[in-house]
């Protein structure tokens, strides 16, 4: 009898970690794949239409403009946070976090592309990327943490 109770206890206490493991490898990869598809669908047609220059490259005349913004908050999974902490003991390059930040930036930039193609603009100039972290609330008891990325720029129409 006590064995079954122990097993039930074990299953409940381990289940978030199992969910985290599945989520890290299946859910995140699926999301990244859809993002890649969206990026490809866009770049095949027009090339990349985001730039950090403050003027359009070929000196074209701007007919219409609007400031556009996109933001995203991404978080690493429990598994990734744990791996990151273990690597942080020895120092060096923490690949799991690099991947998450890279993913968040790509997602924010892709949202800008989707936004402007929907509104009929040609290009985004003067793109800026802003990063901030969400802190752990209440003395580290709350595990929620994330990276906020804001991408903003000026959408123009030739």
């Amino acid at each position: 009898m006590s064995d079954t109770i122990f097993l039930i206890y074990l299953a409940f206490s381990l289940s978030p970690w199992i969910v985290s493991l599945i989520g890290t490898f299946l859910y995140q990869n699926a999301k990244k794949d859809t993002l890649l598809q969206r990026e490809k669908a866009h770049s095949i047609l027009n090339g990349d239409n985001l730039s950090t220059l403050s003027k359009p490259l070929l000196g074209k005349e701007v007919k219409e403009f609007r400031m556009v913004m996109a933001s995203v908050v991404m978080s690493p999974s429990w598994i990734q946070i744990t791996i990151g902490r273990i690597i942080a003991i020895f120092g060096g390059h923490i690949n799991v976090f690099t991947k998450i930040i890279d993913w968040a930036r790509r997602e924010a930039k892709q949202r800008l592309r989707d936004d402007i193609s929907e509104a009929g603009f040609d290009e985004v100039i003067n793109l800026r990327l802003e990063t901030a972290t969400i802190t752990r609330a209440r003395g580290g008891k709350d595990k929620t943490s994330g990276i906020e990325i804001i991408a903003y720029g000026t959408a123009i129409k030739y």
């Binding site: 978030p16 969910v19 985290s20 599945i22 989520g23 890290t24 859910y27 995140q28 999301k31 403050s54 003027k55 005349e61 701007v62 007919k63 403009f65 400031m67 913004m69 933001s71 995203v72 908050v73 991404m74 978080s75 690493p76 999974s77 429990w78 598994i79 990734q80 998450i100 997602e107 100039i125 003067n126 800026r128 802003e130 990063t131 901030a132 972290t133 969400i134 802190t135 752990r136 609330a137 209440r138 709350d142 595990k143 929620t144 943490s145 994330g146 906020e148 804001i150 903003y152 720029g153 000026t154 123009i156």
Partner: protein, 110 residues
């Protein structure tokens, strides 16, 4: 959604097709938003698998619009009719609150 102030604003140095005649100084707008407890629980669950925390993305979007709105109101109060070189800065205040600052140069265009 905020009532919109109808001023053109860009994050490049000029307003395309117009000439700037006078600068009216730096205008700022900022807002601090705390997380909602209920959204916090949802985000905490989503945190297990990682990926996008939609509740926080919405929160950030709201505060961004609010900050922009305050900046534009400030510009209007100074008698400017456009804002150029708009920048955003974010920081996290303790307790999970996020601060968002929007600033730019208010100008008069012809």
């Amino acid at each position: 959604m905020q009532p919109s102030v109808n001023l053109p604003f860009t994050n490049i140095e000029t307003i395309p097709g117009r000439t700037i005649v006078q600068s009216m100084g730096v205008v700022t707008g900022s807002t601090v938003r705390a997380k909602n407890v209920f959204k916090d629980i949802g985000a905490g669950l989503k945190n297990i698998v990682g990926g996008e925390l939609k509740a926080y993305t919405e929160l950030l979007q709201e505060s961004r619009n609010e900050a922009l709105y305050r900046m534009l109101v400030d510009a209007q109060a100074r008698g400017a009719n456009a804002v150029v070189n708009v920048r955003f800065a974010t920081s996290s205040v303790a307790g999970g609150a996020a601060e968002l600052l929007a600033y730019g140069t208010a100008v008069i265009i012809q």
